[in-house]
Symmetry: D2
Subunit: 351 residues, 4 copies
């Protein structure tokens, strides 16, 4: 029983704890949080002005530094942290004609989604992927990768990485390759030819890595699938319309262990149901225009814009146009699901 | 110590066991077998004469019985058992113009590989698959299926089933559907459009069945992959050349839980290494000609022929022509692997 | 349309097929079977008379042949086939004092359940398991095993193997070891000490085999669990009472890839619901007595009796006594489940 | 080519980016980090003085607030963050006689390891676990749990949670139960009786949760396994000695999706090899004394002390005594492994 006459004051008691590096739970704030909160906010980066700055950076940054000629999309709520959502990094990169980046590898996983230009390559694990607008290219954790633009036109792509996750969990490794470019051991786009059309697994390949052996998912096939589903009258998902996940042909799972990628079609006059989930996402508009309402805030989007959906934000998608709208997105689904942290909740529509 | 004077004779002893339904292990033969043995033999069914009989069957068998207008390929070593190898059934089926088969389902898994004709359909679980030569169609265990030929030309396909396995393990169920044809709930070839091109998983489908959601694997995509790999100079497997396994896009595994399907290209002047495995296979020649040596026996094969590889037979494939040869095959790999019964062994070449 | 005037007779037609080893499906019987049928029948081998014959075999069979001093329990319906059910082999083995069996390995999986005697050993993969009544010992596929009785009393155990499955699928390999006894590399019962008490995994062991690393499941722990569950008032399963599956601590799955083992307690006055499943089982009575009705046939069982449940037989268990009854059983569950062949159905009680 | 005469200065350029919330990668620091770095430091909390403060807290904190009478072990390097390592929380809790905590649940996973006292309970998902010193109790994510001390002596335990991970990933949910105590639906320690002794799975339980169904791992069984392995002369792991992982009997994997627990014995005169891994750990000394060198810093530990191993710290364990030392530890292994973030490296010994 507490004896009020002899007990020291709480403050005196707490002072005695500091030297031992212990602290009273009953004074500790922010430990058991009731609902997910994030400082990240819903936000859209319009393509026009960002592209203008990127082209200007092309003039400012020399070819030698070209591999770092990226504009990071920083979520306004995250106090300057280089992140689009709490766990996802996004950036727009410009590669000018005849620029070559040196090869490196790191423990962060990355994706590239091509916005402009045609014919530059990313090389991954000995294979060059020739890129066209809308193509998705994977540069998975620990894979050796570099890129080059041997064409006469600039190339712009969206970079997506799990860097806030990797760095937040203190698991970052990074290593430049000794030689500038990696050794090519496969034909250009060989994995695409082996895996991308049809569902056939090369029996002589014993793939045990934790990411997809298919390094490039071409947009032409993706768009056809979206339009075929629309034509078939597929209802899709009430919250996301016709939503396909890019998948690892060896496991059927997500393309990377920490990030999932999606191609999505919102049919004309589609207004999705609202929901929220712990996972966050970065969306890029490939075709059309529309509106996404996130935590009550309307974000109007147009072709080539990029926008961020924070975790646990209530959201719904609207396409008021008479043409289908198409979105690419990458998310942290696989990371949160692997930890048992995925939660989802239906909500009332906001718009 | 046995006391020789008082002991009964062994024969007397054994007589006393019969009423109890027990039997001495030391008298039992064929219990612990040293190496796999099979009565099945290497065998080839040439297309020409079999097709002739099949067309004759078209005249003998009425449209009402058309669903059973199949010639079973019986392995000569198996004493009349309806099986091409100890665990695989194969048959050639003819469907004449305007014939319709009633719907049914069963616990045996089946595949169809189209040999002749174009445009007839197999309907599986509410979806019609329109068939072209070389297409692979799955009618998995417990799926409702029927077929019909609404074209003006006959259609011939190769049926492959795990019936010897299902029946040998006493697990056969069979049920006709109450109505003649099943209800169609999807567009024609919808699963092909959703799964076959590119590697995208429809996120609104929660597929939990133990077989591929992709009901048809079209030949045109398959042949392109085979030829692309040849063009890429892919070495493939020493024992099988350029061998692709048709795969389940949801799991990356075999298309059916008991049978695997393969598309294979033997490059010009290719002579494979020899090996043996416990699994058995039925091969069908799609393009070209060549030789397979099995347990020392040379089998020469030409387009549209079908041949059987018994389990544990030493075998090697030879393509002496200047054109690539292409083989389709189905095997019992997944069944034996699931039980831990798969064994493989390198052998010396026989030819 | 068949032209009746010119067509050959069906019999003439069929005659032309034989040389080609093809056969008309429409004449083939027993191909698509409506419901599982088995020739195996429900049957019980009473311990008393079988033991008597076994002891007599001890006098007839010399120590040199002791490894084969087994009486096979043959299901009366299976025409002399060495099998207790269509897919399971069972036998009772006697090992006399000071007998030693030579080491061998095979592709069949085996279990031993000790019926009488105490202190003999089975050695598996370098470890000797000292056996007491009720202990379950695994001798998995491809594991090297032998046994010996260094005590002064005879030892009797029940052998269970998947031999009908292995042989039926033509996947049998068998090999004696060059030396009579295998080299011992671990302490006696080491795996039991590491795995059997508590749920702790030795982190320095990288176990990748497809069977349990725990080679012996001692009866004293098993019985305690059964009695604890009874005391806890656990309802268990309506069809099986308090039924525990012996499990592989590395995967949580069955102890062997083709066979599952169970320990079961039927509470006093328990009458289970009736059901049927495609899997078959061999039961051995460890404690008490009771009745199992199988396909309408009442089998009364007492301590140490063994009885067979054929696949798809409707069955229910009854314990009319005031003491709990305990059954050990082994089944082909994992094999049929791995192939997708497991089916189960509720039925009306028969007794 | 950059035109030096007309281009704006870099600073001017960067100023134009702020309104768009974009930022140049080439100016961004701390993005692609070469090797894991952590601010957490190796640190030991000696039991004696911490216990003293805890007993004092017992006088200061009323029974009503007892559920929060915990002293958080704060890593000195983490600037006051309530965490023992970057991803693990640890605290010591005192529960006085006759205190009862209200029930709640949360998305963080927790473990308890009993340090002092005997007979108090933690109730989890309807089952009370009666606790003895050395027992490990799981209160997994989303499980309803409370505790109470119905004995006459105080109870002290070590709490371990993945709170820094859950909060860092913004996935925290927390909910008090409406009623003070949860409804008990099982007998006390029922899961222990069902799962802890032997390896038997209750077949009537269909467990699909992502954590172990065994809520308490008793110390007496754990200690016996450690001592048996020592007696067997098991070499164990060069870096960790005789290290057992507490495992989930349903999957063989870690007890919780984000945290693993270990019981470890360092034999007399044992000096482990040195290594480092990305995962971090909190150790608690159950028996004996010894030294752990972490990043060159010698930490001497004695019974009931707790110490922190930061991620990627080089470390080795030494037991110079003639008695075995026993350590309990919990780590973030499963979280990092699930994300593909586990890396390990051998290092030279430091001591």
């Amino acid at each position: 029983m507490p004896d009020k006459t002899t007990q020291p004051s709480m403050d005196q008691f707490i002072e005695t704890l500091a030297p031992l590096h212990i602290y009273p739970l009953w004074k500790q704030e922010g430990l058991l949080i009731r609902r997910p909160t994030t400082e990240a906010v819903p936000y859209l980066w319009p393509y026009g002005p960002v592209r203008e700055r990127l082209m200007e950076a092309g003039r400012l940054i020399s070819a030698e530094e070209a591999e770092r000629r990226v504009l990071i999309l920083k979520n306004p709520g995250l106090n300057g942290k280089p992140a689009a959502t709490a766990r996802l990094y996004a950036g727009l990169q410009l590669v000018l004609p005849h620029e070559i980046a040196p090869a490196h590898y790191h423990s962060a996983s990355a994706i590239r989604f091509v916005v402009e230009g045609s014919g530059a390559f990313t090389a991954v694990d000995g294979e060059r992927l020739i890129m066209q607008p809308g193509d998705l290219v994977l540069t998975p954790a620990w894979s050796v990768h570099d890129h080059g633009n041997e064409t006469d036109t600039p190339m712009i792509w969206l970079d997506g990485l799990d860097l806030p996750l990797v760095n937040g969990l203190e698991c970052s490794f990074f290593q430049p390759l000794d030689t500038k470019a990696q050794k090519l051991t496969r034909s250009d786009d060989e994995s695409e030819r082996q895996y991308a059309y049809g569902q056939l697994r090369p029996s002589w390949v014993n793939w045990t890595k934790n990411y997809s052996p298919l390094a490039k998912y071409p947009w032409n096939a993706t768009e056809r699938i979206l339009l075929d589903a629309l034509k078939d009258g597929v209802a899709g998902s009430p919250t996301d319309g016709i939503l396909f996940e890019y998948s690892n042909p060896i496991t059927g799972g997500s393309v990377l262990p920490t990030m999932a990628c999606y191609a999505q079609l919102l049919p004309p006059k589609f207004h999705s149901d609202a929901h929220r989930h712990t996972t966050s996402a970065v969306y890029h508009v490939v075709r059309g225009s529309g509106t996404t309402i996130m935590d009550g805030q309307r974000i109007e989007w147009n072709e080539r814009d990029t926008f961020a959906l924070p975790g646990w934000a209530v959201h719904e998608h609207i396409n008021n146009a008479s043409e289908p709208a198409m979105l690419f997105s990458f998310t942290d689904d696989p990371a949160l699901k692997a930890l048992g942290f995925y939660q989802e909740q239906s909500e009332n529509k906001q718009g």
